[in-house]
Amino acid sequence: MSVKGYIMQLQPFSVNDGDGIRTTIFMAGCPLRCKWCSNPEGFTRAEKIGWYKRKCIGCGMCTEVCPENIGIDMNPEREKCIACGKCADICPQNARMQLVSYVDADYVISEIHKHRLFYSYSGGGVTFSGGEATGQPEFLDYLTENLYEMGYSLDIESSGYFDMDKVYRSLERMDLIFMDIKHMDPCKHLYYTGVDNAVILENISGLKHFAAEKVIRIPVIGGVNDDDENIRASAAFVHENLPGAKMELLPYHRFGIVKYEALGIPYDHPDFFTPSPARMEEMREIVRSEGIETADFR
């Protein structure tokens, strides 16, 4: 029996989330609210439509098909939208897009099959991401069980904020597990992400029971977690609690701003900045000085 789940997007040709050419499944709904999040459409599981004003040519075809009579600028009328997707189907510019859909797991698997040759030749496979990949445990279990048995390489990217018992079997099927440490300071973690970091750190420690390769990532947000102390503390924690794990430091970027616009959500964080490449390298050096190998999936 198949199950259904909420996804934001299936992204074939992902090349930075694990080895080789992968299809990344972005699963909707996230318990965190990181202020720098670049995928705001994945905050909740609710099906939703985005409007990319910059792509829109104002042809009005969306308004002709909308059963709720929503205008081209949908933001003032968002509460009326039932996310039927008719406008996204007709839009010639892809300015209207379905940002979250409720799909059958078997559909996801059939889409993944399409690129199997590319995975084979590149050593790639499938990566579960989000939103949050662990937020729909049954959906995840069904997908990972089937894909694992078909011989695909499976990776997962998670915030680490989950109930380990519910996703244990899925994690056992992984070749590579990415988890984040967004901040070592519990108060700051709570302030910037909306949740405490205790569960996350405990789950990171718990990864030692899995055979998968582990990469702990720090999304380095200038002005938030880019100080030497925090980087050092994060590395020290990994060194002590998850021996053998690598770490990857990813610089903050603002590519997600267009999605905030598409959803009509404000994004006002002028204080966040992208650390320079030199500074990124300094931080990686700190990590290495703590006895941790750094990884790089660029």
């Binding site: 992204q11 074939p12 090349v15 050419i21 040759l117 590319f118 590149s122």
Partner: protein, 790 residues
């Protein structure tokens, strides 16, 4: 090692000078023909070749290690009035200033040519014969129309030959070829008609060999003379070496790497002088050069760097020669490209991996010299060594568009389908841009360009051109009265058949003329079976005689257009045929909403079977229709989706098309998606293209994609690119080539051409210096969709 000072100097000259027209060759040729009236045409041609070799200017330019030029200029473009001179007469005054591929030519030269050369050829050229024998109906649809074009086979030299270095040229030398011809003549009886013809053939071969030997000796003498007056002792020694080498070859078989390099260039030069050929292919360079390299390494007389410098000198020779073509032809083959296709990698005849040091050296030479020639192609087999794949993808990442990358097995399959023996099919090399070819073959690989989109225009416009309103094809009913997609496809087929038919008529006419006055003794001397059989190429002397190739243009535009009609008119009913036709007649003006709907329909290049299956059906029909005709030699015609730059001129003559394209906009080349319409991922574009049953289209298929440079900036990224290539080939694809230069760089190059003289970009099936392309060609390259999302 960095490029040497010598090579850099030659390179600077190459990127900074315009080619200059030389009439020396044409003048020698003309005088010779005046002397040989009444002789058999093949003998006259060979005699003209020999006379030219005796008279041509001999120059050794500054710093050269590899010598030989087709005239008095270093960057030289020659004339071959025996093929066609009408167009030269019409256009020569505009040569220096024309937008695409200008040549320098002085008024004095022009006057001399008009006074002394053209008058002799009046009524004698292949072009005039073709026009005299061609009906008005065929001319209307197939002469300078952009719907159907065959003029590269009756206005210019043919080329499209891969020299047989392995079984003929390198082991025998021209002395050996001549000696065998002498023996053959001794064994033949002039009283037997067939043998009498063979005697003429072998006489011609002797004249060709004598011409080549003379050429070598004249360069030897020139080098010796220059050495005497050379104050610099280093250069003096070099000149003495050149003198010694040219005294030996091409008469004798080369024994060292350097001799072999000079030999290969002399053969190339001989071919240029003989017919100013397009696609005169050096072939599997790494295979025939490696033994010389290995020999010299073992002897301790060469090292990698020395060999590389020689290869780079050769690359510059390949590039200094410019093909002389009409304005119309230049719009099809923009960028001075002469398609000297040089193939590396792949498998050997025994099936084992063929890559060697020379394969890597060729890649390095292209990367360092950034010359537009040779057209570097590589064969990638399923077990391709990772080091070779890394070298290939690294060259791709420079953005120069080289190498053209081909799937080994698809190439093999394409030749097998034409009846090649396995050992010959395994030994395939590339011809021109993307044609699987062999040194045992005679084939017109780029014979007709046929527009799928023109057939659609005629089907939807009562047989008339939408821009001119003139009836040029078969009459058809009022398009507003079509009631099903099937009916429209039938109408398309009817129009397409008409185009094919006139292409066949044109090409068979051209073949007849070539058989009478298009003998090719020089090229026949590079072909093992011509020499064995005592027959010229035009008389079917080669081991494989393959029918002329039709290149389909506008596949994706046509498939996308039919998908729009299918969806909007016959499925959704949101538009009528009348709406569509009105919009096309108005070039979409006032029909913006319909155009938006048309643009939103599925487009080829996104792995969507709704439209991809239409494209495949059209391609399959193309194959069935074209291969149903036989040529003059009894061989069936062949199909291809190649990609010369023909998508511009073939688009210019068309009105708007139903998928949303405006009138006169470019169409598309090869099996490439229409510009900007492959909006998914490059994996989807590859999957769509791979559906086109490549192995059937033995004339080659071409796919151009743009990749964002970031994707190939790291080793990981390039490894993924390698995996994409292997996947595409596993899916049955044949060729793919990438542009990876960002539009920011290209825009800057448009503004500051002087900064970017050597910037090489992919055009279609080949690369050219970006600044040597016309503005519209530059714009069309920038418009191709870059795949950049992860």
């Amino acid at each position: 090692m960095a490029i040497t000072e010598r090579v850099e100097k030659i390179r600077q000259n190459y990127v900074n000078t315009k080619p200059h027209i030389s009439y020396e060759r044409a003048w020698s040729w003309t005088k010779s023909f005046q002397r040989t009236e009444g002789q058999p045409h093949i003998v006259r041609t060979a005699q003209a070749f020999k006379d030219t070799c005796e008279e041509l200017s001999v120059n050794i330019w500054e710093g050269e290690l590899v010598v030989g030029t087709s005239g008095e200029y270093r960057k030289c473009a020659i004339l071959t009035p025996e093929f066609g001179w009408l167009w030269i007469n019409d256009e020569i005054d505009t040569f220096p200033e024309r937008g695409q591929d200008p040549y320098d030519v002085t008024p004095e030269q022009t006057e001399f040519i008009r006074k002394n050369i053209f008058p002799y050829w009046k009524g004698k050229s292949i072009e005039e014969a073709f026009l005299a024998r061609t009906s008005e109906a065929t001319k209307k649809i197939g002469v300078d129309t952009g719907f159907l074009d065959t003029d590269s086979k009756w206005r210019n030299g043919i080329g499209e030959i891969s020299a047989d270095y392995i079984d003929v040229l390198l082991p025998k030398g021209y002395g050996g070829i001549k000696a065998e011809a002498v023996d053959h003549i001794a064994a033949l009886d002039e009283a037997i008609p067939e043998e009498k013809q063979k005697i003429d053939f072998y006489k011609s071969i002797i004249l060709i060999a004598d011409g080549m030997i003379t050429l070598g000796r004249r360069y030897s003498a020139k080098a010796a003379e220059m050495a005497q007056n050379e104050p610099d002792p280093v250069r003096k020694t070099e000149l003495e070496e050149i003198s010694a080498i040219c005294a030996k070859i091409p008469e004798n078989a080369p024994e060292s790497f350097r001799e072999a390099i000079q030999f290969v260039w002399f053969v190339q030069l001989g071919g240029i002088i003989s017919e100013n050929p397009l696609a005169w292919n050096p072939g599997r360079f790494d295979q025939y050069m490696y033994p010389y390299y290995k020999h010299d390494l073992d002897e301790g007389t060469i090292d990698y760097d020395k060999a590389l410098e020689l290869v780079e000198c050769l690359w510059l020779k390949y590039s200094e020669w410019a093909w002389t073509i009409s304005k119309n032809t230049a719009s099809f083959f923009a960028g001075y490209t002469n398609f000297e296709n040089l193939t590396i990698g792949g498998t050997k005849v025994d099936g084992t991996d063929a890559t060697n040091d020379i394969s890597f050296m060729a890649i390095q030479a292209t990367r360092e010299c950034m010359t537009h020639q040779p057209t570097l192609s590589c064969r990638i087999h399923p077990d391709c060594p990772p080091e070779f794949m890394a070298a290939v993808t690294e060259l791709v990442s420079t953005g120069c568009g080289f190498p053209a990358i081909h799937g080994d097995r698809t190439g093999y399959q394409m030749l097998s389908n034409l009846g090649y023996e396995p050992k010959d099919a395994r030994d395939w090399n590339n011809c021109g841009c993307v044609v699987p070819h062999s040194r045992k073959t005679f084939e017109w690989t780029s014979a007709a360009s046929i527009s799928f989109a023109a057939a659609l225009e005629f089907a939807l416009n009562e047989g008339k051109s939408r821009l001119s309103g003139e009836l040029v094809s078969l009459p058809e009913k009022d398009p507003r009265t079509f009631t099903s997609l099937e009916e429209i496809i039938e109408a398309w087929k009817k129009q397409f058949r008409y185009l094919v038919r006139h292409g066949v008529i044109s090409l068979v006419t051209a073949q007849e003329i070539h058989k009478e006055i298009g003998h090719r003794p020089f090229m026949s001397a590079c072909n093992e079976y011509c020499l064995k059989n005592g027959k010229d190429l035009v008389d079917g002397g080669a081991k494989y005689n393959i029918g002329p190739v039709f290149t389909g243009v506008g596949l994706s535009v046509t498939a996308n257009s039919l998908a729009v009609i299918k969806k909007l008119v016959f499925e959704e009913g949101t538009a009528t045929m009348a709406d569509i036709i009105d919009a096309l007649n108005d070039n979409w003006e006032g029909h913006e909403s319909l155009r938006a709907k048309a643009l939103a329909c599925p487009k080829y290049g996104n792995d969507n079977d709704y439209v991809d299956s239409i494209a495949r059906d059209l391609a399959d029909f193309f194959y069935d229709e074209v291969t149903g005709y036989n040529d003059l030699y009894g061989n069936h015609f062949v199909t291809a989706f190649m990609g010369i730059s023909n998508y511009l001129p073939t688009g210019k003559v068309l009105g708007a098309t139903p998928e949303g394209r405006y009138a006169k906009d470019p169409i598309n080349e090869g099996v490439s998606p229409y510009t900007g319409s492959d909006t998914s991922t490059c994996l989807a574009a590859l999957r769509s293209a791979a559906k086109m049953n490549h192995d059937m289209h033995s004339g080659g298929t071409l796919l151009n994609l743009r990749l964002n440079h970031d994707l190939v900036a790291t080793r990981r990224g390039r490894a993924n690119l390698g995996a994409m290539l292997q996947s595409y080939f596993a899916l049955g694809g044949f060729h793919v080539q990438f542009n990876t230069i960002s539009n920011e760089v290209l825009k800057d190059a448009q503004k500051n051409p002087d900064k970017y003289r050597s910037l090489l970009v992919r055009v279609a099936g080949y690369s050219a210096q970006f600044t040597n392309l016309s503005r519209e060609m530059q714009d069309s390259i920038m418009a191709r969709n870059a795949h950049e999302e992860f």
